[in-house]
């Protein structure tokens, strides 16, 4: 197993490496430059050119990339042009905020997606199934940014149950309950689509597994229906559900862009949107690398879990 993990981690390196080149190329292709963003309204072409020179952006692209790569290998992610602080500081702060949000959402969507999928499969065509299916459909059809706005409108403004934005209260906060309070609405808004996807998939996988011969065998043994479903069927269904949970990590990280914007969550998604618009190349690089690494890592975990679940995959 450990060699497998090591191999997978090694395989991730070229992906991340290639990604960093893609980011560099895309950023180079975007018209405009960070100098304009730094100088604001007063950016004359002359000033822009001078500033670009000061920032080393007049060098040929390959050279810029190599400089960046060289620094990266020494653990230096460079300095953000527009924020005027080290990229790593900003990215780590932002990234941990996103991890809290996306991680919570991933847990929520996994737990509720699985529950809903199982219940819906077990009670197929019953009322529970219909209600779950209905909500799942709503979940996967509603634009998450729209849902976010509705949640704010309803639970923050109308009922004042939750704060409308931010990660911590400005004073007196900072503890765990405070974080949870701020986390609740955005995490829910972010989890909804993925919950729907996982629930649907779990339902299908469960139904498929429940038709398998070995389920009949389990029943023929006289096992209780609970054991048949929650041990035999669920374990087999998880084999196809787990990688999808891994894929959902990508969607959750992507969806975080909207949710962080709507809820003012100080995460990396909102940072990247802004960094792209201000052409803050190094910040985009650092941010994308972290997000991509997280994605690769979650999928690695999913694959490992899958191969633990299914001994056939090892051979």
């Amino acid at each position: 197993m450990s060699t497998y993990i090591a191999k997978r981690l090694l395989a991730a390196i070229p992906v991340l490496f290639g990604l960093s080149i893609i980011v560099f190329l895309i950023m180079a292709m975007i018209p405009g430059d960070p100098a304009t963003a730094i100088l604001g309204s007063y950016a004359t072409p002359e000033n822009v050119e001078k500033l670009n020179r000061d920032l080393g952006l007049d060098k040929p692209l390959p050279q810029q990339y190599l400089i960046w790569l060289g620094n990266l290998l020494q653990g230096d992610f460079g300095r953000s042009f527009t924020l005027n602080r080290p990229v790593l500081d900003e990215v780590l702060e932002r990234f941990s905020a996103t991890l809290i949000l996306a991680g919570t959402s991933l847990v929520l969507c996994t737990v509720f997606g699985l529950l809903a999928g199982i219940v819906s499969a077990v009670r197929q065509f019953g009322w529970t199934d219909r209600i779950v299916t209905f909500f799942v459909l709503i979940g996967i059809s509603i634009p998450s940014f729209f849902l976010g706005l509705l949640l704010i409108l309803l639970f923050a403004v109308r009922f004042k149950l939750f704060p409308a934005s931010g990660m911590y209260a400005i004073y007196g906060g900072g503890d765990l309950p405070d974080l949870l309070r701020h986390l609740f609405l955005p995490a829910v808004a972010l989890a909804v689509i993925a919950t729907g996807v996982i629930a649907r998939l779990t339902r299908t996988a469960m139904l498929e597994v429940l038709r398998q011969d070995y389920i009949r065998t389990a029943r023929a043994k006289g096992l209780s229906e609970r054991k048949v479903i929650y041990m035999h069927a669920l374990k087999a269904a998880m084999v196809s559900v787990v990688p999808v949970i891994g894929l959902q990590a990508g969607f959750v990280l992507g969806g975080a862009v909207y949710i962080e914007t709507v809820f003012q969550w100080p995460g990396i998604g909102a940072m990247l949107v802004k960094a792209i618009s201000t052409r803050d190349l190094l910040l985009v690089q650092g941010g994308v690398l972290f997000v991509a690494a997280a994605y690769v890592f979650v999928n690695l975990i999913a694959d490992v879990v899958q191969s633990i679940l299914d001994p056939r995959l090892k051979s």
């Binding site: 459909l137 709503i138 940014f145 409108l153 498929e208 038709r211 389990a218 006289g222 990508g250 949107v273």
Partner: protein, 602 residues
Amino acid sequence: MTTAVDTDRPADKHARRPSAWQLLMNNRLAAVGFYVIFVIVFVALLAPLLPLQDPNATSPADRLLPVFTDGHVLGTDQLGRDVLSRLVWGTRVSLLVGISASLLAALFGSLIGLVAGYWGGRADNLIMRGIDMLMAFPYILLALAIVAVLGPGLLNALYAIAVVNIPFFARNVRGVTLGLSRREFVDAARLSGKGHVSILLTEILPNVMPIIVITASTTVGWMILETAGLSFLGLGAQPPQADLGSMLGQGRSLLFTSPMISIIPGITVFMIVMSINLLGDGVRDTLDPRLRAGALNRPMPVTKINRRTTPEPPGDTGAAALSVTGLETSFESTAGPQPAVKGVSFSLRKGECLGLVGESGSGKSVTALSLLGLVASPPGVITGGTVTIEGRDMFTLSESEISAFRGSKVSYVFQDPLTTLHPLYTIGEQVAEAVRAHRPVGRSDAWSKAVELLKIVRIPEAEKRANAYPHELSGGQRQRVGIAMALADDPDIIIADEPTTALDVTVQAEILRLLQVLRQERGLALLFITHDFGVVAEICDRVAVMRFGEIVEAGNTAEVLGNPQHPYTRRLIACVPRPGQGRAFLDGVRELPPETGRTGRT
């Protein structure tokens, strides 16, 4: 997936198989989705002909009128433009972009997937690494960056969304293509000198098409959401053109004062996406061969029982371990119920071995499964008859009562142990589980009992093998595991459903000997289901011959074998080749009675 149930299912599908369209419309949710999206598309297409106001005509003085204002049914937006008109025109744009993006993504994604899957090897590796990169890039940021490169505008947003979604098509199509390109018909085409392009287009593409359609139908909705998302971030339609996302995005700043102008397009996006998803699910269910067979139905713990007749069992049940009277089982299908077992009666005495013989599709397996309600249901229904064990009618028992019989009084040994053993549990666990199913045995005791059972069925190195998974064993060993499981709770009756069919002759002989020994040692009654009279001759005391769901002949094995009354029995006996028989064997087999009103399935 070939299961005993499938094999024995009546198969007059050709007769009245509903068309794909009918299947789709039979799915109520899909039909609702279809009608909703149809109406939306219809209205959007007719936008130029409808008596709508100019969607771009501003009238700042009339801004933000509420819904149901005279002349503005859905009110006006921040510039006094008619929301209804903008909604209709905007829907038109959003649909167009979403669908075009899907088509583009489908085209290029499938192309990449086909190429990667077909050539495999290095090309595949390289392409899939690239796809991995795209997937590791947060999709919305990628779209954002692409739009930033290309400049603003709806068309560019369309390209961005298409690019972002290429990986999904590529991955799905590649997986299927990879499987297909190793198949015989592709090799055959290659050998016949067809070029790569021609093979891809004529051999592989038609087989991949359903996957493409399914992926497309399930992603269109998602694409429309993403288009809306990009427009919401201000990267889509350029003003004054309306599209749902930009209406939502621009209305958002007025969310607290005039929520309707963002809620209306929000709900419209939601309706479109939801109806497309419903329809997409329907399309998937219709096209997916697995789902097509009987829709994905969850088999109930006990077969559905809906008996029209409940005949009294014959009086002498005292001597019988099992007695079956007038058993009828059918399968529900869109074309009505298809009877599979039509009034079968027999009994099994204690310690006796009864052979139930018949071809595939004769209903023998369904009969066996019906005894303890193990026929998958839906579609199976027990429509009549009684099964009596220990004086109780099995079909009157509750779920938990019947569970108490399963494995403890009556246990099953199934055909094809690769599919009937759980692939993810070790064989030791599975046997131990059977041990614990009806008795309060501790884990470690159960485990040692399981090892003991594995020894009884002569699994070599049982202690070690108990930790093996089914796929690590040979077919014969797996079958022994099946038998060990059946013995776990000292049952009175074992129902063995073609336990040796999948095995080669020497292993088959060993298994039969094992069953024979166990039967004699433990005084078990054995119901042995097979199509092979040779096997019957070897172990059965009595035999019943089944055809088309009915028992056509029954009696002592020696009598039936020696003097078969029914032509079908004769043919079955003739199917057992004897050494030195020569061409006469073929003549015997050829004596097929004409089949009545049904197409056979092998």
